[in-house]
Structures are given as structure tokens and as C-alpha cells.
């Protein structure tokens, strides 16, 4: 009974803190701009392929496989965690064992995957601590990001050790038979413990540390880059479905251009209700879509985007990963003020104080970053939205591009050629 009360208190604390965090994050989402959704059939397909089957992550085969194993491991192990919560709340023991073959399947896959995940995590730790992997470095990779990674890996390691502890002690304590099926632990337990059966303490310690670590982990995640664990599947489900080459249209500009091009309305006042947008493009966090912000929360800073970026590879300042690291950090800085007061201004902005013009103008929109991202983050559209702000609100255009734009306006070509010469190529036929 005492154990049950402690468990329920721990669970309520976890849920309470989690609810507080989620409320805070949702209040930030309310500051953002719309991002229309459609075609749910295609969305489900993309989710099955990219999230569940982990198709994108295998583009880097070695670490990709290790990640996919951790992901699939989590999926089956989570089923076991649900049973632990039910057991804890109602003071039961292996409450789902009545489901028969299903229970055997869940426990067996969870048991195997616990060791598989454990090995993968050790590989990840070795990569982080002892190998110099280029994409783990970069100007946006601050100490916090490295610490985040090690904390998450450390907790997952302990989660798997404690899960193994539960399974090992459980099978060892019941030589006469037990619920579920534990292919690895059943083989390993006699090796570790011989004939020793008195493992009640180990079982209790493992059980409690496993479940309490889950509770702690769940509440650390939203404050670290590993919020990814919760946000990446929704992020894939809500991906941009258009071809990567396609940029979103600016309706607000279409309305203005149509008014300008129609001789009847060119000099008339704008019709009522057609309120001009507060700003063209993206200057700061209140200008981004909710999907841009979700991208920033889902990014776990793996750096695949930056590692394939032609600008970054050739030494330019641009790093696609930094765009989303900056967006998240800027929302954390400005969001609370904006939630209290919609016109809050701290004199800073995402463009310039976080992301420089130099970075924005270095992008070739080649879409290598977006194609590589394992969770369908879209960097180029946000980069272009920031260019739109620079050009349309501030006329801050690099001089050669200003010339190019002038040429298009004056003579209908990005170079200074007359449209009269448009057929000259045919003279040599």
C-alpha cells in the first residue's frame, strides 16, 4: 500500500510537471502563423515510411541502423512500461500477463531490444566521446547541446540496464516458471547469478529506478534537444508534402500585385477587409509558421543537414542546423514576453541577432539539407522567408542581386539584355 501511494505521488508529480511544460510550449505555438494541412492519406504513408520504417536515417547506414534499432526498441519497450504504470498504480504484479501470446511477444521483443538498445547506446557514446565526427561540431553546437546528448545517452543507458535488471532478477527468482518470455535474460541470468535465487532487492531496485528514470526523462526531454523523442513522429506526420523545389506562395503579395496590375484598382484604396500583413517574410519568431517552430523542437541536432550543405562544406558561415537551433533559442528568449504582451519587443530579432544576412545569402536552395533530414525538417523555405523579410521590408539586398532584380523589372531578364534580342540565338541555326 505504501509503495502504491509513493508510486501514485511520483506519477502525479510527473504528469503535473509535464502538463506545465506542455502548456508553456503550446502558448508559444499560439504566437506563430498558420501552416495549412491537407492530404491525410499521404501524411500517414509518409509517417509509416519516414518515421516508423526510419527510411531517411539509413542514408547514413551505420549510425542509421543503430538509431533505427533504438527507435524500434523504444516502441516495444514502451508497451512494457505501460504495464509497469498499471502495476504501480493498482498495486498489481505483471497485470498484462493474462494476454497470453501477446504478452510473450511484448516481453520477448522488449527483452531482446533492451540489450540491442544498450549496445547501440554504447556505440553512440563511443562516437560522441572518443571519435571526432565532423557533424557533431559547429558554431551552433554549444556546451549545452553536447551535455544534452550525454545526459540523454546516459539516462537511456541506465534505463536499459535497469530493464535488464528487472528481467534477469525476475526469471532467476522463478525457476519453476514465470509470465512472459525473456530469450536473452533467461540465458544470461544463470551465467550471472548461478544458483542464487534471492534477488528480491535487485528486482525492486531495478523496477523502481527504471520507472522513476522514465518519469524524470520525460520531464527533462522537453527542455533538451531530445524533445525529439516526443516531437519527431508528429513532425513527420505534419511534414511539408510539396516537392522540395516548390516555394510557398505569398498570398498577401498576390493581392497587392493584382490590385496594382488591374488599371481599375491601381490607384484606388485597398478594399476593406484586405488588411495588409503585419510584415512580409520572417524577421522574428512571431513571423514563422507553427510548423517551422515544430521543426525547431523536433531537431535533435544530428547535423546531417549541415554535413551535406554545399555552402557549409566549402567554408561559408551557413549551417542549416543552426537556423533551427537559433529559432528554438529565440522563441525561448522572446516567447514568454510575447505570451504576456503581444506587442512585446526586446529590441532583438531572429534575423541579424541570431542569423546573419551572410548566412541567409549563402544558401543555394539545393535542398540537400531538407532531403537528408531524417524527420522532414524544411530549411530552405524558412531561409527564403527570411530573405523575403530582408528584401521586401528593408530593401537589404546584396548589390549584385539588386542589379539582377532591376534588370528583370526593366528589361525582363536577369541580365541587361533587351527583349528585342531574344531571338538572336536562332540566327546561327
Amino acid at each position: 500500500m505504501a509503495k502504491q501511494i509513493i508510486f501514485i505521488l511520483a506519477l502525479l508529480t510527473t504528469l503535473g510537471v509535464f502538463a506545465y511544460t506542455m502548456r508553456r510550449i503550446f502558448s508559444f505555438f499560439r504566437l506563430t502563423k498558420p501552416f495549412p494541412l491537407n492530404d491525410w492519406g499521404k501524411r500517414i504513408k509518409v509517417t509509416l515510411k519516414v518515421a516508423i520504417a526510419q527510411s531517411r536515417i539509413f542514408r547514413f547506414p551505420g549510425p542509421g541502423l543503430a538509431h533505427a534499432l533504438v527507435f524500434w526498441g523504444f516502441m516495444v519497450i514502451t508497451l512494457g512500461s505501460i504495464e509497469m504504470v498499471i502495476d504501480g498504480v493498482f498495486g498489481l504484479h505483471r497485470s498484462m500477463s493474462a494476454t497470453g501470446w501477446f504478452y510473450d511477444f511484448v516481453m520477448a521483443s522488449g527483452d531482446i531490444m533492451a540489450y540491442v538498445v544498450l549496445i547501440s547506446i554504447v556505440i553512440f557514446l563511443i562516437r560522441r566521446l572518443f571519435m571526432h565526427i565532423g557533424r557533431f561540431y559547429g558554431i551552433e553546437m554549444q556546451k549545452k547541446s553536447k551535455l544534452d546528448a550525454l545526459i540523454a545517452l546516459g539516462i537511456i543507458l541506465l534505463l536499459m540496464v535497469s530493464l535488464a535488471g528487472i528481467n534477469l532478477s525476475y526469471v532467476q527468482m522463478h525457476p519453476e516458471g514465470y509470465a512472459g518470455f525473456y530469450p536473452v535474460s533467461a540465458k544470461l541470468a544463470p551465467v550471472l547469478f548461478g544458483e542464487g535465487r534471492d534477488l528480491y532487492v535487485l528486482h525492486e531496485i531495478s523496477w523502481w529506478s527504471h520507472i522513476l528514470l522514465i518519469f524524470i526523462f520525460a520531464n527533462i526531454l522537453p527542455y533538451s534537444k531530445h524533445f525529439h523523442v516526443f516531437t519527431s513522429i508528429p513532425n513527420v506526420l505534419l511534414s511539408r508534402l510539396e516537392p522540395l523545389g516548390q516555394l510557398p506562395n505569398m498570398e498577401s503579395v498576390t493581392n497587392e500585385v493584382k490590385l496594382m496590375m488591374n488599371p481599375d484598382t491601381a490607384f484606388a484604396a485597398a478594399p476593406e477587409g484586405a488588411a495588409a500583413p503585419s510584415r512580409f517574410g520572417v524577421k522574428d519568431v512571431e513571423d514563422v509558421t507553427w510548423k517551422n517552430y515544430l521543426d525547431s523542437l523536433a531537431c535533435t541536432e544530428c547535423g546531417r543537414c549541415t554535413s551535406v550543405c554545399p555552402a557549409n562544406i566549402t567554408g561559408k558561415k551557413l549551417s542549416p542546423r543552426k537556423i533551427f537551433v537559433d529559432l528554438r533559442a529565440r522563441m525561448k528568449e522572446k516567447g514568454p514576453g510575447l505570451v504576456k504582451d503581444g506587442s512585446y519587443d526586446d529590441g532583438k530579432s531572429l534575423v541579424r541577432d541570431y542569423i546573419s544576412e551572410e548566412e541567409l545569402w549563402a544558401c543555394t536552395t539545393c535542398n540537400a539539407c531538407a532531403r537528408e533530414c531524417p524527420i522532414n525538417i524544411n530549411h530552405p523555405t524558412l531561409i527564403i522567408d527570411m530573405r523575403r523579410y530582408l528584401v521586401m521590408e528593408e530593401a537589404a539586398v546584396p548589390p549584385p542581386l539588386a542589379t539582377m532584380l532591376q534588370n528583370i523589372q526593366n528589361n525582363g531578364a536577369p541580365w541587361q539584355y533587351s527583349s528585342e534580342d531574344r531571338m538572336k540565338w536562332a540566327e546561327l541555326l
Binding site: M250, V257, T364, A368, I384, M404, I408, Y417, L429
Partner: protein, 263 residues
């Protein structure tokens, strides 16, 4: 000189004709000296295969792509709405173009402004002509050459079209090779996103140099492209590496014309 008369939409309309395709030449195709050759090569192929087409000629104007990529949505949309009006006047329904940037913007972005067309990149169109047997490459012409193909971003990653150019090249029956970074992992030439019209930001090297080095390392003697900007960047890159004698940069349309011997 082959005395090809390039049909122009306005003249065709005056004659009461309605060509099946609009061949969108594009600004690079019309003005860039190097890419004019590609435009001529493609037109020769159109005539060779007996395709019903016309160009807009002096009525063509920039479709606004570099403006949009440079963040100037206003200039883009002004251009786009103008172009859509012109297309409407000639009842254009099918567009072919040699430029992946023009291809992308017509196919994906004009529908948002009310312009809906069946848009084909010349690599796709040529692949089809080859498949239908309307273009039969002479296998002897390139039998001693090795061709490596560079994927234009707006054709490849941008629109998922990786194979049509490769199939056209396969029809030449040359030796072929691939760069380590190909198809969806292809490395950009450095010109996209309006980079074509500005200096690069400070860095260790030019994007085009990095890509050229990768192409040269394959040992191929022909670098094939299907994009005017890629052509400029790679041609410059090959010159920068002092390899212009040994390694040539051609568009797939030029390669087909050479293999037909209709120069």
C-alpha cells in the same frame, strides 16, 4: 547552317496554327552565349523528331524565378502574372524547357497563381523521343568517351527526376561513370537560389570548384548537365582547373545532336 526556321507563337497564331508545345527558351537559353548552343541543339532535335512547337520570341520575359529565390516576391509575382497572361493569349497548355529552374517554377509554383500547365523538362522530353525511336543515336560517336552526369538540384532533389537524363546518356552507348555524390545525394554546382547572379560569401573554396573536382576525379572526359546554371558553373570550374582541353562540358541535347551528326 541547316536553315531551320524557328516558329514563333505570334506568327503561328496569325497563320491560325496552334502548336502543341510552347518551347520556353528561358533567359539563359536566349542570352547566355554558351547556353544558346544548347537552345539551338534542342531545336534541331525538335525538328528532327517533327515536334509541333513554337517559342514566344520577343514576347518571352523572365518568369521571375531568380527574383523569388532572392526574396523579392513582388517582382516575381509581377513577372509571373505577366507570363500567365501571355500564355493565356496563346492558349498554352504544354510547356517544354531546357532550364530546371523554369521547369520547377512553372510546374510547382505557377499553379498557386492560377497558371496550370503540363510542364516537361527537355531531359524528360528527349528521353521520350529516344524511347519512341524518333531519335536514334549512332553508337560509334561516343564509344571512346566516358560521360559523367551532374544532377541539377531543381530537377533531382527538387522534383525527383534523376533518371531521364541518364537514360538519354545511356542511348549514346558511351562508357559512363558516376560521381560519389549522385542523384539525391548530388552536390550542388553553386548557382541555385539566385547565387548565379552574385559573388559567393567568404569561405574556403567555391562550391563549383568542389563539384568540378569531384567530376574530374571520376576520370570522365565529358561532364554532362541538363541546366544552364550548372553548365556555367562547371564550365568555369573546368577552366579554373585548367582541364578545358581534356574535359568537355555538354548538355544532354548537344550530345544527342552530335550522335545524330546533324550539326
Amino acid at each position: 547552317m541547316s536553315n531551320i526556321q524557328v516558329p514563333v507563337m505570334a506568327e503561328a497564331a496569325a497563320r491560325g496554327e496552334k502548336p502543341e508545345y510552347l518551347f520556353w527558351v528561358g533567359c539563359a537559353g536566349a542570352f547566355d552565349e554558351r547556353y544558346q548552343k544548347v537552345t539551338r541543339a534542342f531545336v534541331k532535335l525538335l525538328h528532327h523528331a517533327g515536334v509541333s512547337y513554337a517559342v514566344l520570341g520577343k514576347e518571352e520575359t523572365c518568369n521571375g524565378d531568380p527574383a523569388r529565390r532572392a526574396g523579392d516576391e513582388m517582382t516575381f509575382q509581377m513577372q509571373a502574372l505577366t507570363v500567365i497572361e501571355t500564355f493565356k493569349a496563346y492558349e498554352v497548355t504544354k510547356i517544354i524547357t531546357c532550364c530546371p529552374h523554369c521547369f520547377n517554377i512553372f510546374k510547382n509554383e505557377y499553379p498557386d497563381l492560377g497558371g496550370r500547365y503540363e510542364v516537361t523538362h527537355h531531359s524528360q522530353f528527349l528521353k521520350q523521343l529516344v524511347e519512341e525511336g524518333k531519335i536514334k543515336a549512332d553508337p560509334k560517336i561516343f564509344s571512346n568517351n566516358t560521360i559523367v552526369y551532374h544532377d541539377p538540384c531543381y530537377l533531382g532533389r527538387g522534383n525527383g527526376e534523376y533518371e531521364s537524363s541518364r537514360e538519354v546518356i545511356a542511348a549514346l552507348q558511351s562508357k559512363t561513370t558516376e560521381m560519389p555524390r549522385n542523384r539525391s545525394k548530388a552536390f550542388c554546382c553553386g548557382a541555385g537560389g539566385a547565387q548565379m547572379f552574385k559573388e559567393a560569401e567568404p569561405g574556403k573554396k567555391e562550391v563549383s570548384t568542389e563539384r568540378t573536382e569531384e567530376a574530374l576525379a571520376t576520370g570522365a572526359d565529358i561532364v554532362a548537365t541538363a541546366c544552364p546554371f550548372c553548365m556555367t558553373m562547371l564550365t568555369d570550374g573546368i577552366k579554373f582547373k585548367n582541364k578545358e582541353e581534356e574535359v568537355k562540358n555538354y548538355d544532354i541535347a548537344e550530345l544527342l545532336v552530335m550522335s545524330l551528326g546533324i550539326q
